[in-house]
Symmetry: C2
Subunit: 461 residues, 2 copies
């Protein structure tokens, strides 16, 4: 436990009301959205300005208190769990100002605690577009999105968080300010530290201010729901769409198990007998949209779609998209424990990946619902289980490992958008070389000699 | 000088014919395209496969020989100059295989010595598009482009090299293989080392293989030449186009001095009385192109364009684009020394930046021709001088520093696309904090303890 003197120093710096020491308060920050054992922090800090944020980081380092920055705690790989001993959680929710939305130069600046969806809405009100839309966007924060390189439904056409980070101001472990990147699309000044920080899971610095690229919004959209009698046909249709050089802004997949779970959750009239559904949206200039939508319809027909429903209104589209957003909560309520994975493969390998996931589920006698961002090969096989059933959970762990092995055999990657955190750290060497892990650790050691910045995450086992 | 034993070890590793020790050979690699004093390397190595590349790096490190990797030597900031003592230049021109162009999954893999334009052409032959097009693309290499985060004419709409690097395999200073990134758009596995390497100017590792994102090509283009009687009107037109949410793929600027230089260079019929020219190209779906081109024409008219020429054929467009490509050689032949800068500002600050450059030229009684990528605020003020005239060159140096100061006052950056190298290292602290420089150096020290990877570059003075 931090000494009374240290706690008093935090109270002097942040104000008494922003230093939480009571068990009830601390327990609220002992878990994130990953399936891992909770770890109760010893201290929770809530700085209200970036100057005291820097001071808090410095105090942690001086007192060798391991520091985990937390936005909304929606992390799916345990990146937000504090250290087991002397763990401090630093909340960013009071650092939530949008500092600038520059409509002439197409960028915005914000503090790390700004909520993603609120930011996107503020940008939209100014007539511009911030594309990254992670599933947790209604509560997730920009800082968390950058720290995890969050993805979302629009990755295929618009890229992910890293593609929008132009610049970053952050504090090093001594609370010194580091400025990197710029407000311009072009910047070749100094090391690309801004992009090193993207996806670094809080292990290399603490964000002060983020500069994000904005783009003009598309003038038109069209959404479709395509029903297939088999998973194979649906996933082969995804590959065919991309191979025809159409880049839908969204191209989502739901398997039969997920469809039925969603339907019993909300009763939106989904075809429960379907092998798989694709939700497809194209956007851009109206003429482009019309042409792409026509080609997508033709490809679906060629691939043997059994039903194709084009949304005639924003409301109709919304009800289809709601079905996709319901996938995770609908699956999650079926069993006590939901393990949501995000292994990712090149798009053309999607049919093979989907088949492999089903094989793995059968072989280990497990329930896996699969949905996700089919267009960029980023599936979310979701294993429904009960962690208290240790025999079953062992099979779950074997299945997870086989899913990773398959993704890598198919030239894919361990994590598309959820990060490595604590959950996948031990698997890093399956994908990277030993040299990669050692290189990352040398870098980490140099920038955080006492190892206080979110220890135990990302660096491999 | 490297000892005979060391030279023999390199010869055994690479073959006698790939180890250059003769003065005549070494002199050829003593300079790049920056205005800096030449430095003759003591040894030049030309590995022909990536295994011996790793071995060469390891041998350099073991023998504490500072190593500078060189592609085509088109670097404009001295990034390719070897170290003053015991400098080894490592040529990548025999590592020039395009390993894969994957049309289903929209990526390509190549070795560092692949020539940019040849790569782009091979991609185009497969029906895809690799947008980054640095001015030196006919000779520059992919490895050099990544090491410098090269830009080009299409940055405004399509981004720069960093936006296309999906993955990277590189050797650390011990010759160990580091694998980072993936072949997928989404990847959240491990530290984002691929992007740390982008723009790192050869200071953190030696590239083995680069994975680049490809995109479907635009279906249509339209190019225009717009003539203005003043620089102000031209630069304000640029701002107006962007503010109207049009993103041309190219939006280039030439001032009167540059126009006259180009005209006397080739006699292409440019309006030599014009205050400034804009070259504008929009691309995308044909309907989008038509609409954007119409809006651009309207904006040009509103801003008082004196002549607007729409290219009616590929040939006509080519002759206009040739004029832009002639800008640098046309200016360069006017005086013995050409100092080409690339300070960059947010687009809306372009008019202020152009005015400031002209003020600086007048105040220091210097000849500065300005052209460049106006659409992304990335101008190339080009100072024509004679380095042997030390009195004038002192004025040049003062002017350069004032150009940097102005760019930073306007929320810009020291370098948009040429890098920091040796030329701008001493100016780093104008833009970054001292903390940023120290952070970068700690990182470098950890990854390259003997300081042999391209010493003296990027890290600040």
């Amino acid at each position: 436990m931090a000494s009374k003197n240290v706690i008093r120093a935090f109270q002097d710096l942040l104000g008494r009301e922003n230093v939480y020491t009571e068990a009830a308060d601390r327990h609220a920050y002992s878990f994130d959205s990953a399936v891992l054992d909770p770890v109760v922090p010893e201290l929770v800090l809530q700085p209200t300005d970036t100057e005291s944020l820097a001071g808090a980081v410095r105090l942690c380092n001086e007192n060798e208190l391991p520091l985990t920055v937390r936005g909304a705690g929606t992390n799916l790989s345990g990146g937000t769990l504090p250290a087991r001993e002397k763990g401090v959680v630093l909340l960013t929710n009071s650092l939530n100002r949008v500092l600038e939305i520059n409509t002439e130069d197409l960028y915005a600046r914000g503090e790390p605690g700004v909520i993603t969806a609120q930011f996107a809405r503020a940008v939209a009100e100014k007539g511009l577009f911030y594309p990254p839309d992670p599933g947790s966007q209604t509560v997730s924060t920009l800082g968390g999105n950058v720290a995890e390189n969050a993805g979302g439904l629009r990755g295929l056409k618009y890229g992910v968080t890293k593609d929008y980070v132009l610049g970053l101001d952050f504090f090093d472990v001594d609370g010194e300010l580091i400025k990197t990147g710029a407000r311009t699309v072009k910047c070749a000044t100094g090391l690309n530290l801004a992009q090193l920080m993207v996806g670094s899971e809080g292990t290399l610095g603490v964000f002060k201010e983020i500069v994000l690229k904005l783009v003009p919004p598309p003038a038109a959209q069209q959404a479709m729901l395509a029903v297939f009698d088999s998973v194979d046909r649906a996933s082969e249709t995804v590959s065919a769409i991309i191979a025809n050089k159409i880049l839908p802004c969204t191209l989502e997949f739901l398997d039969n198990f997920t469809i039925r779970a969603v339907e019993s959750f909300r009763g939106a009239g989904l075809p429960t007998e379907a092998g798989a559904l694709l939700l497809i949206e194209v956007d851009g200039h109206p003429a482009q949209v019309e042409e792409d939508a026509r080609k997508v319809r033709e490809i679906c027909q060629e691939m043997g779609v059994t039903e194709l429903k084009v949304s005639q209104s924003a409301q109709e589209k919304e009800s289809v998209w709601q079905a996709r957003r319901d996938a995770l909560p609908a699956l999650a309520r079926l069993k006590p424990t939901t393990v949501l994975e995000d292994a990712t493969v090149p798009r053309s390998k999607l049919p093979a990946m989907v088949r492999a996931i089903n094989d793995i589920a059968n072989r280990h006698n497990l329930t896996i619902g699969t949905f996700g961002h089919a267009g960029d090969g980023n599936l979310h096989p979701t294993i429904l289980t009960d962690k208290r059933d240790s025999e079953e959970f062992e099979r779950v762990e074997r299945a997870i490992e086989e899913i990773f092995d398959t993704a890598l055999e198919l030239d894919g990657t361990l994590s598309g958008e959820h990060g490595i955190g604590m959950a996948k750290s031990k698997f890093m060497e399956k994908e990277a070389t030993r040299g990669t892990i050692l290189y990352s650790r040398r870098l980490k050691q140099a920038l955080d000699p006492k190892g206080i910045l979110n220890p135990g995450k990302i660096m491999g086992a």
